[in-house]
């Protein structure tokens, strides 16, 4: 552990990450609790019943879901406005894919992590993984997913919120809920992998620690984010 530490996240980014994480998990759990129709809820009736017991009633649960959601959206918006240049940089970084390298990474890394290097060899592929930038291809795809899903869920959420206040046509509301649920579900599928990588995966533990300290060890950066490491290694 004698290796040099490299700056990766500043305090603002660390704050917004954990704020986002808390809200996202809270909203996923309460949102799933709002679907009390057991024919629609993917886990059945026990979850909405449990949530309603915890919050006292369905109305309170809905109120919490709405206002935590609106607060989340407002804080993210303020963050983007305050750090406009950084946010644009983030979007540019995560939405820039280099097809050949990232596709190869996605296939090889998925096989390597689930089935191992031997399976990779049996499939006729080499075990070298293409070098990655500040984010690897998997992180980029997850970031794209959360950005798009977040945006769509804010829009559909607001449509549902204002429905009984000003909307005379119920059709957009009905579709909003369907789309809201679809986005939350797909994002949750991605979130499972994200949480595994952060909290359980051995290889990614330095990345998890960097979400508190902001620093990663030099050899980790070199091994996992080689292109980014090459960029920053000579900066002070």
């Amino acid at each position: 552990m004698s290796s040099k530490m490299i700056h990766r996240h500043d305090k603002g980014a660390i704050f917004i990450h954990w704020f986002n994480a808390f809200c996202w998990i809270f909203l996923t759990l309460t949102g799933l609790g709002l679907i009390s129709n057991e024919h629609i809820n993917p886990v059945g009736a026990w979850w909405p019943n449990l949530m309603r017991t915890i919050f006292g009633s369905g109305e309170t649960l809905l109120t919490f879901h709405i206002y935590v959601g609106l607060t989340w959206a407002a804080v993210i918006l303020v963050y983007i406005l305050i750090r406009f240049r950084d946010s644009l940089g983030f979007l540019k970084e995560v939405f820039t894919l280099s097809p050949a390298r990232d596709a190869a990474w996605m296939i090889k890394k998925n096989v390597q992590l689930t089935l191992g290097n031997n399976a990779l060899k049996k499939m006729g592929m080499t075990t070298d993984i293409p070098p990655q930038g500040f984010y690897n291809a998997g992180q980029k795809v997850f970031a794209q997913l959360t950005v798009l899903a977040g945006l769509i869920m804010v829009i559909t959420g607001i449509i549902m919120y204002i429905s009984t206040i000003i909307l005379n046509n119920p059709t957009p509301v009905a579709w909003s809920r369907t789309i809201h649920y679809l986005m939350a579900g797909i994002a949750f599928a991605g979130l499972l992998v994200h949480i595994y990588m952060a909290a359980i995966s051995r290889d990614e533990r330095p990345a998890f620690k960097s979400m508190f300290s902001g620093l990663v060890p030099e050899d980790y950066a070199k091994h996992h984010h080689e292109l980014w490491y090459e960029e920053v290694k000579n900066k002070p």
């Binding site: 509301v173 009905a174 809920r177 679809l182």
Partner: protein
């Protein structure tokens, strides 16, 4: 014992005075152009000369045992009260998606133009709590509408259901098991629509739900595979990682 409120209607004595509709409108302050209950009628066939007739049929929400409106509601805002059998709308839980309005084959619901949530007959629950009959039953001059608890063997409705032959007006092909019974026979009987769920609801149950389950399932499977691999390959860890764990 749990109550099961229902209505038994003798449509042959209905004179189409619409007092039930008016008293309901007044009782619940129903906005102009909307109604919670109705009187349907047959089309007169004037070729029958002096035998020409019209049959009137009072109705309202039938508080079905297999309520398509409840099945269409995702949030549980529309629910059947297990203690009374009455189907209510919890307006604070409703997001006004209109699924239930479309799903009711009897057209017993409308979206309230000001509150923007569905409104429907609840057998005048407020009046029942005060020991009064529903407004439409109370006001009917020919006593066409009989209201009561069919689980109570001494109630008027239970007696009528026991002693007299009754029919129901049902939707086809899905029978929602309505709790509104008509003595002997009634007309018209072919007016209910079919049970139709809105496209957004069909997309949710038919497409989105399976897709989300598959996505989360695959993702969970991947995570499980990675976790197992990590468990069984601990020997391969590099020196660096071993040190870190200490």
């Amino acid at each position: 014992m749990k109550k099961k409120y229902c209505m038994v209607i003798d449509s042959s004595v209905c004179i189409d005075c619409k007092a039930c509709m008016v008293s309901c409108k007044v009782q619940h302050n129903i906005p102009r152009g909307y109604w919670r209950n109705w009187i349907k009628h047959t089309e007169p066939d004037f070729s029958m000369g002096k035998y020409t007739f019209v049959h009137f049929q009072p109705g309202g929400c039938m508080q079905c045992d297999e309520p398509s409106c409840v099945y269409a509601c995702p949030s549980g805002a529309t629910y059947k009260d297990e203690e009374t059998g009455i189907i209510h709308v919890n307006e604070d839980l409703c997001i006004g998606c209109g699924n239930c309005v479309t799903a009711c084959p009897y057209g017993a619901r409308y979206r309230h133009p000001v509150k923007r949530v569905p409104d429907k007959c609840d057998f005048c629950s407020d009046r029942l709590n005060m020991g009064l009959l529903p407004a439409c039953v109370d006001t009917c001059p020919t006593k066409a509408r009989t209201f009561g608890d069919m689980n109570d063997p001494d109630s008027d409705v239970a007696r009528l259901l026991r002693d007299r032959e009754t029919v129901r007006v049902v939707s086809r092909p899905v029978d929602t098991k309505p709790n509104m019974f008509y003595l002997a026979e009634t007309m018209p009987a072919d007016w209910p629509g079919s049970v139709e769920y809105p496209a957004a609801h069909q997309a949710m149950t038919g497409f989105v739900n399976p897709l989300v389950k598959i996505a989360v399932g695959l993702s969970g499977l991947g995570v499980a595979a990675m976790f197992l691999k990590q468990l069984f390959t601990s020997d391969e860890t590099s020196d660096h990682e071993k040190k870190e764990e200490v």
